[in-house]
């Protein structure tokens, strides 16, 4: 092929229609728009969030007595350990399905339409992941409200910081879920197969449902390689009002997951075009 001349820059603004945008769009603006759009159907139909509460309440109501019985500790002490884990679990369930909602829009054509719009690529991922956190946070607050009469005593500042750390982790997880949907395209069973296969070991290895103390050595090692372990430990420390190395390690693990997730997500988006 002969070297192409650079085409002369042609008229950028279509004369008749005029500029189509009236103000600049920034990254935060874009994230806000995507987040708002995703959240709107939930806000219009809040019953779905209420319905989503039933499952975590079952966990709390049916699992806590088992833990109390097997550990021999008081209900209050058990809740202090268990509630932060349930909150993390709720957020995982929500944000790991980010990609499933995307798949539906990939099938209809609405995802393609957003790709042609000037919204930034990363805002599409972050906005969607943040949206999945909101119902989880609402559910977390309800769980906390239910647990307090039974002796659960969260530290207010620790809780706020803990939920922030969790949100950072979840943005990363949401971005990974988004990347998974892009990778398997419209193949829904493949998405769920990978999501379930990864989610449950990650959750169990983080010691969400049962403590890992006294676990065999290999399990201990696997658990230490799992970033979620540090996030769960941090949640427990912060909710108890303990500001120590656990909190710092958890924040670092959350940040790392977030960066890796966004990096993988952005790479997958580029590769899929």
């Amino acid at each position: 092929m002969t070297a192409l001349d650079t085409p002369t820059r042609t008229n950028p603004a279509p004369a008749a229609a005029g500029p189509t945008t009236s103000r600049p769009t920034g990254q935060l603006h874009d994230i806000g728009l995507v987040f708002g759009r995703e959240l709107r159907p939930v806000a219009r139909d809040p019953f779905s969030v209420v319905f989503g509460l039933i499952q975590p309440l079952f966990f709390l109501g049916l699992f806590t007595p088992l833990l109390v019985a097997s550990s021999g500790q008081s209900t209050a002490d058990t809740l202090q350990w268990f509630v932060p884990g349930v909150i993390v679990m709720l957020s995982l369930f929500g944000t790991s399905t980010t990609g499933a909602n995307l798949q539906v829009e990939m099938q209809t054509g609405s995802h393609e339409r957003t790709l042609v719009s000037p919204l930034s690529r990363s805002s599409l991922m972050i906005g969607r992941a943040l949206k999945e956190i909101v119902p989880a946070l609402v559910q977390a607050l309800v769980i906390i409200g239910v647990a307090i009469p039974f002796g659960f005593r969260p530290d207010a500042a620790g809780l706020v910081v803990g939920l922030t750390v969790l949100a950072v982790f979840c943005v990363g997880l949401g971005a990974l879920s988004y990347a998974l949907a892009l990778a398997v395209k419209e193949n829904q069973w493949a998405f769920w197969a990978v999501q379930q296969t990864l989610l449950f070991p990650v959750m169990l290895l983080a010691g969400i449902l049962l403590p890992l103390e006294g676990a065999p050595g290999w399990l201990e090692v696997a658990s230490r390689l799992n970033p979620l372990t540090y996030v769960v430990d941090a949640e427990r420390a912060l909710v108890a009002g303990t500001w120590d190395g656990d909190a710092v390690a958890g924040a670092a693990a959350a940040l790392l997951t977030c960066v890796v997730g966004l990096f993988v997500g952005a790479k997958t988006m580029r590769a899929s075009s």
Binding site: L4, P14, G109, V116, S273
Partner: protein, 337 residues
């Protein structure tokens, strides 16, 4: 005139396993501001791939493309701000309410909340969707969804609008409705419109310029009228009482007009020849002198399907290709014999 789209050697290859498929090959396209252009071709011709490169959905393998003055590879964001796109699928999320989705879409293009609301109301009104404004998208009928797609594509009043197979799956009434909106968009805003289609009628009635694409390459580029007069003659369609008479008439026609394409199918004979309308009287007299009197005679101006057939040897209409090609082979053999 200002240039709106300029491509040079635009190429897209897809790799599947060890095979490389070239979907678009060395496409050189120049589209001026205000033009209304149809990319016409059969399914798989590469027209949608070309459109997806121009709208930044696909990265070109090689070559360059400037859209509204911006490079589609290095300045994607600027291209996206300048264009509107109505794809093959539904633009609106199914769980969303109609007006929510429209307003959100406008804001993605930088419209203010109030500005986007006003524009959304205006579009819903003109597309007859006002009553559906607070309905969920999933409750809309197929035609209503397509009209919403149009509204989504026009929310930011783009100066350049791409439509990918806009009429696919629409009933005739909604198809006419959609075409009317595209025509209005141009008349009111002087927008440039580029659409892909495999509906000949659509290309014929909407576009002032038709780019015929086959196997990823441009095989013709002209106005519908010029394409028809250059690439396909008038068609004289005759029917006879029996197949024997028809066969004899076909042989006579082929002998008398060597330039004509003659196709016999049962009792029907199609003679396609440039300036056919003017020849028909002489042709009928010639047949009469051999004792052949057709039962019916019809003279038709060429259609874009005839153009496509002349350019590629294949029909755009599914199911017609085989019959015509077979019939033609038979006649050619008979004439040769």
């Amino acid at each position: 005139m200002d240039t709106m789209i300029e491509t040079r050697g635009l190429t897209k290859e897809f790799r599947s396993g060890k095979k490389t498929v070239t979907a678009v090959k060395d496409l050189d396209l120049h589209i001026a501001t205000g033009e209304m252009v149809a990319l016409l071709g059969p399914n798989g011709a590469g027209k949608s791939t070309a459109l997806r490169m121009l709208t930044t959905l696909l990265a070109p393998t090689s070559g360059s493309a400037y859209v509204a003055g911006y490079d589609v590879t290095s300045d994607q964001h600027a291209v996206r701000r300048a264009i509107g796109y109505i794809g093959q699928g539904n633009s609106a999320g199914h769980a969303q309410r109609v007006n929510d989705e429209l307003v959100a879409s406008g804001r993605a293009y930088g419209l203010s909340r109030a500005g986007s609301r006003a524009r959304a109301d205006e579009l819903l009104e003109s597309l007859g969707l006002t009553e559906q404004a607070t309905q969920k998208v999933m409750t809309l009928s197929g035609g209503q969804r397509r009209r919403l797609d149009i509204a989504m594509g026009l929310i930011h009043s783009p100066g350049l609008l791409f439509l990918d197979e806009p009429s696919t799956g629409l009933d005739p009434q909604n198809r006419a409705n959609l075409q009317q909106h595209v025509v209005d968009l141009r008349r009111k805003h002087g927008a440039t419109v580029v659409l892909t289609t495999h509906y000949l009628e659509e290309a014929d009635s909407l576009a002032e310029r038709i780019v015929v694409i086959d196997h990823g390459q441009v095989v013709a580029d002209d106005s519908p009228a010029a394409l028809k007069s250059r690439h396909a003659g008038d068609r004289i369609a005759l029917t006879f009482a029996g197949p024997d008479e028809a066969a004899r008439a076909a042989q006579r026609a082929a002998a008398a007009h060597p330039a004509a394409q003659v196709v016999q199918d049962g009792t029907a004979v199609d003679v396609q020849v440039a300036g056919g309308a003017a020849m028909v009287t002489g042709f009928l007299a010639d047949l009469a002198s051999s004792g052949l009197a057709p039962a019916t005679v019809e003279v038709a101006r060429p259609t874009l399907d005839d153009v496509f057939l002349a350019l590629t040897g294949r029909s755009l209409r599914e199911g017609r290709t085989d019959i015509r090609t077979d019939a033609r082979t038979d006649i050619t053999e008979e004439v040769a014999a």
